[in-house]
């Protein structure tokens, strides 16, 4: 398996924390605050993720999909978007959701099985997680299409994994994007496993990126653990979309450090040696922190302060989510229709009565 992902695609920041010559060129023009922001988001997202796994183990949230290892792919891509851009995530994009403006409390509520976690704050164009694989891909194409028809400059992005590229919806979404030249980005985090099934079982092609050719859209493979390369590639894709150049399929090669969800055991199907290599030698945070420190942009003290600050924010969100009032049973009927038909009013009746009696 390990050899399969030798070619991680475009890389600016090497695992040892040094920039390639092209990386130097890409690094220079980036504003200092943004350089630091990349790291801060990655660290916060990882801390949140680790906390969420513990919360699940303690029975305080339900089954959770960990993202550790994929922070660079999520941060690099999400920071290239604007507020008016549409985002159609899968169920592993908590990092993207945070950057888009989803409060931590609501991300937690979602994993507590609360529908409130599906609704973003006003003005945040973030769809709820697509649970059925690949179904969000045509949605993103459609939203992009509407922007184009309305003459608006916003783009749409669909986030999905390597498994999704086998579903019909992936092919149909990309095909529409090609035919109608839509301002959409298909962002595949190829973390190499669809639950237990390795990438070599999803497709006989060596990469996801090359599939773009079948729909006459642009395809790029990038090192998904290199936040700088991801950001650069995503920026280009967004720029092309905004200027009428059409869609891009980005394949960010990455690895999930943990299991598919907290209900899964990755030890059953992944070689320990492979996982160790990705966790210890190819981690997205380690290499970027080395770069920042070498450039004098980050220190041990800043690390400590930021970690404390994140942990406090996370704990406040946990408290807020856990103290959120439990929904009454009658909430089942909330928003099922704009106007509840009489038969549903009747079905709700006994529940409301019981709630009044309490």
């Amino acid at each position: 398996m390990l050899r399969q992902m030798e070619k991680v695609g475009l890389q600016y920041l090497q695992p040892d924390g040094t920039l390639t010559p092209e990386g130097e060129v890409a690094w220079k023009p980036i504003e200092r605050p943004l350089k630091i922001e990349f790291y801060k988001w990655m660290r916060k997202i990882r801390l949140f993720d680790q906390r969420a796994v513990i919360l699940q183990r303690q029975g305080r949230i339900g089954t959770y999909a960990p993202l550790q290892g994929q922070e660079a792919a999520q941060v690099g891509s999400a920071l290239a978007l604007n507020r008016e851009d549409w985002i159609f995530p899968s169920y592993r994009e908590h990092g993207v959701a945070m950057i888009a403006g989803m409060p931590l409390k609501q991300i937690l509520l979602y994993w507590m099985g609360r529908v409130e976690g599906c609704r973003p704050p006003e003005g945040v164009k973030l769809f709820p997680p697509a649970v059925p694989i690949a179904t969000q891909i045509p949605h993103a194409a459609g939203a992009a299409w509407a922007s184009k028809l309305k003459g608006e400059p916003s783009v749409a992005v669909a986030y999905f994994g390597d498994g999704a590229t086998s579903e019909g919806d992936f092919h149909e979404g990309l095909n529409f994007a090609g035919v109608f030249r839509l301002p959409v980005i298909f962002f595949c985090q190829n973390n190499q496993y669809a639950i237990s099934v390795p990438f070599s079982r999803q497709t006989a092609t060596e990469t996801v990126a090359e599939k773009a050719a079948a729909y006459a859209i642009r395809g790029v493979r990038v090192d998904g653990n290199d936040v700088l390369a991801v950001y650069t590639v995503m920026n280009e894709a967004v720029e092309r979309a905004r200027t009428g150049e059409g869609a891009t399929l980005i394949e960010a090669v990455t690895y999930r450090h943990g299991a598919h969800t907290t209900a899964d055991d990755a030890g059953r199907y992944r070689e320990q040696e492979e996982a160790r290599e990705w966790v210890e030698l190819r981690d997205p945070l380690t290499r970027y922190r080395k770069l920042l420190e070498a450039e004098g942009l980050w220190s041990e003290a800043e690390e400590r302060d930021w970690e404390a600050c994140c942990k406090q924010e996370i704990e406040e969100a946990v408290r807020a989510a856990e103290s959120a009032e439990a929904p009454p049973a009658s909430h089942l009927f909330a928003h099922v229709f704009a106007d509840l038909p009489p038969s549903l009013v009747r079905q709700r009746e006994p529940l409301l009565r019981q709630e009044e009696e309490k």
């Binding site: 339900g62 169920y91 579903e167 019909g168 669809a194 999803q202 089942l332």
Partner: protein
């Protein structure tokens, strides 16, 4: 005999089928090396190899579609759809092809296959993993639909499904996967498709349920027995074809019926049962037939699933109403 859980019994049925019939193959997502996300196929890949227990790409239409091709060309595929809520990409293949191939080819190319899918709520699963959509399939002519609620039935019904010449949708109530253990014979045996099971004999009211609602309903019957009301509990088990005789005979005896299912109410399988009973036992009925069901709302995320799923209290209240009528 071994004491097995329902999921172990399912695993055992597939082991038997793979052993005795070289044309049987299993295909689905994560069914091989991982042994299935619920461990339904645990140990089978190691034992029978990658050509018979096949990890497929993540593509339900592809899985069901290729299984149809396999079936008409001499294999007996057992498809695992990871959760019933993710069957929809494969739905077209099931409805437009698997279900009607026998008819369309006038018996030449029947889609002899089994589609297994875990379904139903009560296990705090993530969104869309807990739907009960059996009615969609019962409403599709050409398909058989069965739901075991015990380990013994799980093995016997699955073996019957595998040897059945027609496509069978085999629904597995996740809530019961590891709920109880019971004696399950090691050898092959079949529980015939099309036969209901009388769980408990009674005289005063008939309670009809399937899947994870059987234990809920049985518990209510036991409660009422304490109060001197005798409930007959029937595990419908085969949703298509229905065991009309057992259901109708029971309701003619008791004169009262309560139907319990987890799926939403409108056009659920319970509506069909109620229509059947009033057609065939109208003059014997002492009270309107009651239904205790999920509500006509999207199956909620798990924070509210207990409010959605019928519970003992709701079933008991329905029993009280039909008795008091």
């Amino acid at each position: 005999m071994a004491q097995l859980t329902l999921i172990q019994a399912i695993n055992d049925a597939m082991r038997v089928a793979l052993e005795r019939d070289p044309s049987v193959v299993i295909l689905g997502e994560d069914v091989g090396k991982n042994g299935g996300v619920f461990r339904a196929t645990e140990g089978l890949w190691e034992r029978f190899g990658d050509d018979r227990v096949i990890d497929t790409p993540l593509a339900e239409a592809g899985i069901v579609g290729t299984a149809i091709g396999m079936a008409v060309n001499g294999l007996r595929p057992i498809v695992e759809i990871q959760f019933l809520g993710f069957a929809y990409p494969g739905f077209e293949q099931i409805v437009s092809h698997a279900a009607r191939l026998r008819t369309r080819t006038q018996g030449m190319f029947p889609a002899t296959m089994v589609i297994r899918a875990p379904y139903g709520g009560g296990i705090r699963a993530p969104e869309l993993h807990s739907d009960s959509t059996e009615a969609l399939f019962v409403h599709t002519p050409g398909l058989k639909v069965v739901v075991p609620s015990t380990p013994y039935d799980a093995k016997g019904l699955l073996l019957a499904a595998i040897s059945d010449p027609d496509p069978v949708l085999f629904l597995e109530p996740m809530k019961l996967y590891r709920a109880v253990r019971e004696e399950v014979p090691e050898e092959a045996y079949e529980v015939p498709i099309g036969q209901a099971r009388v769980v408990r004999k009674g005289e005063d009211v008939t309670l009809l349920a399937w899947g994870a609602m059987v234990p809920v309903t049985t518990a209510v019957a036991e409660e009422w027995a304490q109060k001197g009301v005798s409930c007959e509990v029937i595990d419908v088990r085969s949703l298509y074809p229905l065991d009309e005789e057992t259901l109708v005979t029971s309701v003619k005896k008791t004169g009262r019926a309560v139907i319990v299912h987890e799926a939403p109410r409108t056009s659920g399988v319970g509506a069909e049962l109620a229509a059947l009973l009033q057609e065939q036992a109208f003059l014997w009925l002492e009270a309107p037939i009651a239904r205790v069901t999920g509500y006509d709302v999207p199956v909620p995320m798990f924070a509210l699933e207990d409010a959605f799923r019928p519970n003992a209290q709701r079933v008991s209240e329905a029993v009280r109403q039909v008795i008091a009528f």
